[in-house]
């Protein structure tokens, strides 16, 4: 690739350093969160709901690395077991949003016309509602719980995916390779999924990564409000909610999960930003 470009005239300026730093930090944080979740699903230092009456509300120490909460439960163990619930919620909601958003975007960009206009006005209307409020509205219909939170956040984010993917898909749909495919008689679905889709992966991946972070936060927020995961099951949002009542006795059980949430969200966002720089660079090369 570089060889073919040997004599290309003006080389693209690459934000390589910044992009790479984002990518590396983002990937490390994200990977850390995912590993924590996977580990937490099979092993924790203590059972997450085991009560150690002798050590209640202790700070970090040798026995309990991140201390214990007001009931004497090990904070690290609870973060680890909660990680699985929080991270999987983020991923599941993201995949739901992609599964709803991408087909709509491709169909709209390919068919254009009235259908597309109506669809996009509807999407615009939905976009004017803040995602979290939208998710709350859906929760009112579905009821509370982990699964319901996933569905609500996924649906609430779908309009954003339609918007982002449609922009890229419109661009791809106007290329001659789509005309060429129509001219040789390809089916509409083949053109949408085999010709256009491979060219709109970059924005999908970027948006998905950033949204996974958002869904993580949204999930924590719903749990915090008591609408997501229901105690005694714990995720990070539930932990913050329970710990904040005792903030004046011990702040540690509050700070630990809150920090974990922040780091995970920052991780997904940096990963998304880094991917954006990297993938768009690839685009530019491909377009040469």
């Amino acid at each position: 690739m570089t060889e073919a470009l040997e004599f290309a005239e003006a080389p693209a300026r690459r934000p390589a350093v910044r992009g790479n730093a984002y990518l590396v930090v983002g990937a490390v944080l994200t990977l850390g969160a995912v590993l924590l979740a996977l580990l937490g699903a099979i092993w924790t230092p203590y059972a997450p709901s085991a009560v150690d009456l002798l050590h209640r509300s202790t700070g970090p120490g040798a026995g309990h690395l991140l201390g214990t909460d007001e009931y004497g439960r090990d904070v690290l163990s609870r973060i680890m077991s909660g990680a699985w619930r929080s991270i999987s919620l983020g991923f599941a909601a993201m995949m739901l949003a992609v599964a709803i958003g991408v087909p709509l975007a491709l169909a709209g960009a390919y068919w254009r016309g009235r259908l597309d206009s109506v669809l996009m006005r509807f999407i615009d209307a939905l976009l004017s509602i803040p995602s979290l409020i939208f998710a709350l509205l859906i929760i009112t219909g579905l009821g509370t719980g982990h699964g319901q939170a996933i569905v609500a956040l996924g649906i609430a984010a779908a309009p954003r995916f339609v918007r982002v993917v449609r922009g890229a898909a419109l661009d791809a749909a106007s290329q001659d390779y789509v005309t060429a495919a129509r001219a040789r008689g390809e089916a509409a679905l083949y053109i949408q999924y085999r010709e256009i889709l491979p060219n709109v992966w970059p924005p999908i991946v970027v948006e998905a990564s950033i949204f996974a972070g958002f869904a993580l936060m949204g999930g924590a927020a719903l749990s915090y409000l008591g609408l997501g995961t229901q105690p005694p099951a714990a995720d990070w949002g539930v932990m913050v909610r329970e710990a904040q009542r005792y903030i004046f006795q011990s702040w540690w059980p509050l700070i630990a999960p809150a920090t974990t949430i922040s780091l995970a969200i920052v991780g997904f966002n940096l990963l998304g930003e880094g991917l954006r720089d990297r993938l768009q660079l690839g685009e530019r090369h491909a377009g040469e």
């Binding site: 073919a4 040997e6 300026r13 001659d176 390779y177 060429a180 491979p198 060219n199 491909a286 040469e288």
Partner: protein, 609 residues
Amino acid sequence: MPGNDPLLSVKGLSVAYAGNAKRRAVLREVGFQVTRGEALGIVGESGSGKSTLLFSIMNYLPDTAVIEAGSVRYDGVDLLRAPPGVLQGIRGRRIAMVYQDPAQSLNPAIKVGDQIAEVRKYHFGESRSAALRRADALLASVGIDAPERIAASYPHELSGGQQQRVMIAIALAGEPDLLVMDEPTTALDVIVQARLLDLIRDLKQRARIAILLVSHDLGAVAAIADRIGVLYAGELMELGPAREMLRRPDNPYTRGLMAAIPRVDARVPIKGIAGGLPRGRGRDLGCVFADRCDLSVSKCLAVRPQLTHIGRSREWLSRCHFAGAAAPASARTAPAPVPTRLTEPNSEDGTALLRVCELSVDYRRLGKWGFFARQVIHAVRNVSFTLRPEHALAIVGESGSGKTTVARTLLRLQEKRAGVVSFGGEDVFAFGADALRRFRQQVQMVFQNPTSSLNPRKTVADLVTRPLRLAGTASDVARDKAEKMLRNVGLDGGMLRRWPHQLSGGEKQRVAIARAFITEPKLVILDEPTTSLDVSVQASILELLARLKAEHRCSYLLISHDLAVVRHVADSVAVMQAGEIREHGDVETVFSEPRHPYTRALLDAARRS
């Protein structure tokens, strides 16, 4: 011009771009001078470094560029090392620049009169009213008929030719000594192009302005320049007086370039330059053109030739070991046999392959009042023609003439309003699903820009085999056929695993052509098949298309704006303007005795540039 101090003097300029791991040289020891009142044209294909040269002169090089050696002096000031304040006083004032695409260079939100006046206000401190009056005068001087009305217009209200004239007026507003033009006519239609070249020539004489014109189009350069420099792969290959050089080019590259240009006036044989730009940096020693050159001997690979004087003139230089050596009568200049018509067109009784009768196509788009007032545009009106088997018909027209719409409608990519399209005697618009599928196997299309027509996320193998796979051919059979087809279009079978972005423009177009021919079509629609390519590559592609047509015994429908290409490829021609066919007939007849005034204007313009 002896005894005249050079206005612009470029000496030993070497520029490289800092890459990931290594630097790559883009310009090497380029040197030339422009004196007052003189026009120097620099010709270069893509990858020649002509943009970098322009950026160096304007001191607009990107941060990644490294000036390794040399200087660019303007009237004694070293532009590469001058402080920003000094540069501001020179750029736009003493050196003005005209870019390729006026639509992108003009600010869409400001009336053009104000854009011209801005230069007067900035550089001469004129009041707004004085500057605007001046703008009118400038517009008149660049051949605009109603300067007041144009000055009060926004760029989008003007045609491409008018926009480019406005750009020139802006450039002239600073009363510059030197006008630098980057492909000033490339984005324009033929007739407009010819008029603009007239204007530039006129300006040079009237205003005694020095002009540095950079272009890939030897014709445009020849129309204006007193002297011509030929740039290849970052090196100045030949530099000399325009008239002599065009008559008897010395450097093998210049000769190759000229042999590759098809002519409007006669179907002369053309010959592309085989191969591509040197890749990598292994060529530091030898001649950059050595591996594409017919004259190449071992010395050419080992020793880099110097610029050598040709003949008696002190001004004519050529970078070749054989410079001036009585132009070796080798393959390049030897007259090749003129290809006879590839097929004798069947006489009138032959059944038509494609018959288009009274075809009309409308576009509907939102008008000024949006949703409530749809505007109907008659893109194609009452177009009729027939195409016989093994025959090549060209539809010629400028942008917006409706020629591409005709092609799209034939393929049923577009609905028609009226008329009949029949293929092999059957009505194309009455085809059911099965018949349509068979039809689409028999009619293939090659697009203008292969970068857009080849999906960047598919390998060459996927791209070329797809039409066969769609028809149900097994994948290994399809792959074998694709490999043969690739060899047939002059690529090697190993290309199958490559991605489009790893190929050069010419290679991509060959892949697109392979894809079109793999189903053994009866009709191939060629939509400006060489417009996005360099001349030397264009010639090779035209040769290939001629050979394929003979081998596969198919018909061509060529859509083109380039009369020289049409002359070279087509048997008959239909001239389209504003959605209608103005003239239709045998190529030789139409080109030698055009009847319609529009055809005459087109031919006239094509001959002049």
